[in-house]
Amino acid sequence: MSMSANTKNLKKSVSLYEWLTTDSPASRNQARLSSWYMSWLELRSNPMAMFGITILVALLLIAWFAPFLAPHSPFTQDLAARLTPPGEGGYILGSDSLGRDILSRLIYGSRITLYIVSLVALMAPIVGLFVGTAAGYLGGWVDTVLMRITDIFLAFPKLILALAFVSALGAGIENAVLAIVLTSWPPYARIARAETLTIRDADFIHAIKLQGAGPLRIITRHIWPLCISSLVIRVTLDMAGIILTAAGLGFLGLGAQPPSPEWGAMISAGRKFILDHWWVATMPGLAIFIVSLAFNLLGDGLRDVLDPKKSSK
């Protein structure tokens, strides 16, 4: 009891900064918070990563508050004001061939982008985790079969394979997500398998084995938690690729369908006017560029912070 009272007094007497950076934490929670704070400081000292974070936070806010931020409706057409250059007639980023405000469409389009990215980032690593850990732990012919299947998927360029899947499944956002998942799980399976191979002969796996645990329990309860950290880092690095693939599918008319304001589809619609009315294709292009750059920078920064082998402690 006296310990916690002490901590509280301490908290009042020193500043929050000192409380967070102390060498001798007084409680477990303080130790945990201060280690988080240290990681945050390390991330903050990396300006590129901070740039990435700022953009992504902005993107999240924009997507969340889209109805309040967008000056016009993304769907209302005004044929009289079609192809208005940026800055004229109240269209900050200009209007497209049907007279829709490009800025509003970009703002609403961020929702679609985030939707695709988050769904793929949730599903692909899980598929990879299943396949990779099963292959790595069970070994033998299971390993051979699963890894050869993985190799087959890896042998195709991502976009081509996704194209094939979408054309087979039918165009649409959900199918685009499925197709991207189907093409992006193999690297995760590889990582999970490699990680599993290093863990499977560890003593604690033997210990649980001689307690009578079967393979299913060992994989799900003891191997999965250990694979997750490396998968998470890989996912942040892959986000940009996912956005590009989604935009590529949209551009080819196989992702989100008009009139939905998907960025790739917007570029595709602006393609016809690119010489006379450059802004129609350029603005969504810039949006894609900036967001994928932000994801990449954040991924790099996170890897530096989270990688235990590189830590300077």
């Binding site: 210990a207 649980i208 003891h222």
Partner: protein, 291 residues
């Protein structure tokens, strides 16, 4: 009362490029409700013997035996699925280094609960209660805190006590301890051994204690098997270890410094080819002899 475990002509082989390597060669022994020590130098096959009883020899190892009988049931006849029920539930094993035998990303309490719930049909709350009382049994001071901690927060001695708790919680009949104290320092060693001894006695379990430390074994066990090159070269009562006759055992004993008889030079063990060629001594004891 019959023997808990009887092993007859156990052989463990590993095919290598240079032919077949036999890690354990034709050994037989039995275990009642007693503490059986297995001693020998590195590579003499003592750990392999422990693993072989649980049928956990790593590929490509081959396990052969006339029979490994646990209370009248031959373990070699069981399917792999039935073995899951034997491991942990009937026979448990404590491994050398507690640092590596606990999952680093799972809370200690969860790991012990899991060990319990693998074999007993119990609710989570029951398992937690049982775990806490088990942690108390191995003299851990603040079980509630340890329950929520991760393995890296524990010291070596605490880790090994946690392992003992984890291995004893399903109430096995036989405990195999594979050098349970060699990763610990001497003062902690004694503490851990005492805890293990107390629990094993209370529950009337059979204990196979694998070690290279003759002093510990002679103080702690009832009966000793001495292994050399995959064979049992001698078997004797632990308190009469100093009357051992086999030259290998004598050599081992002579290479330990003794406080009462200080010597300027300790003897170096001289090996004899004949030892590894001689047939294995049987470690099977009829229960009548024990009494």
């Amino acid at each position: 009362m019959k023997n808990l475990l009887e092993v007859k002509n156990l052989t463990v082989k590993f095919p290598t490029r240079n032919g077949i390597f036999e890690a354990v060669r034709n050994i037989s022994f039995s275990l009642g409700r007693e503490r059986l020590g297995i001693v020998g130098e590195s590579g003499s096959g003592k750990s392999m013997t422990g693993r072989a009883i649980l049928r956990l020899i790593r590929n490509p190892g081959i396990l052969e035996a006339d029979h490994i009988t646990l209370e009248g049931k031959d373990l070699l006849m069981l399917s792999e699925k039935e073995m899951y029920k034997v491991r942990g539930h009937r026979i448990s094993m404590i491994m050398q280094d507690p640092k590596f035998s606990l999952n680093p990303v799972m809370r200690i309490g969860d790991q012990i609960c899991e060990a319990y719930r693998l074999h007993a049909r119990a609710s989570k709350a029951e398992a937690k209660k049982k775990t806490l009382s088990m942690l108390e049994n191995v003299l851990i001071r603040d079980p509630a805190r340890v329950f929520k901690s991760y393995p890296h927060e524990m010291s070596g001695g605490m880790g090994q006590r946690i392992m003992i708790a984890m291995m004893l919680i399903p109430d096995p009949q036989i405990l195999i301890a594979d050098e349970p104290t060699s990763a610990l320092d001497v003062t902690v060693q004694k503490e851990v051994l005492e805890i293990m001894d107390k629990l094993v006695r209370e529950r009337g379990m059979g204990l196979i204690f694998i070690s290279h430390d003759l002093n510990v074994v002679s103080a702690f066990c009832d009966r000793v098997l001495i292994m050399y090159a995959g064979k049992i070269v001698e078997t004797c009562r632990a308190d009469r270890l100093h009357e051992a006759t086999h030259p290998y055992t004598v050599g081992l004993l002579n290479s330990i410094p003794q406080l009462e008889h200080p010597a300027d030079h300790l003897q170096v063990l001289q090996r004899d080819e004949a030892w590894s060629k001689a047939p294995s001594v049987s470690g099977i004891v009829k229960t009548e002899d024990l009494a």
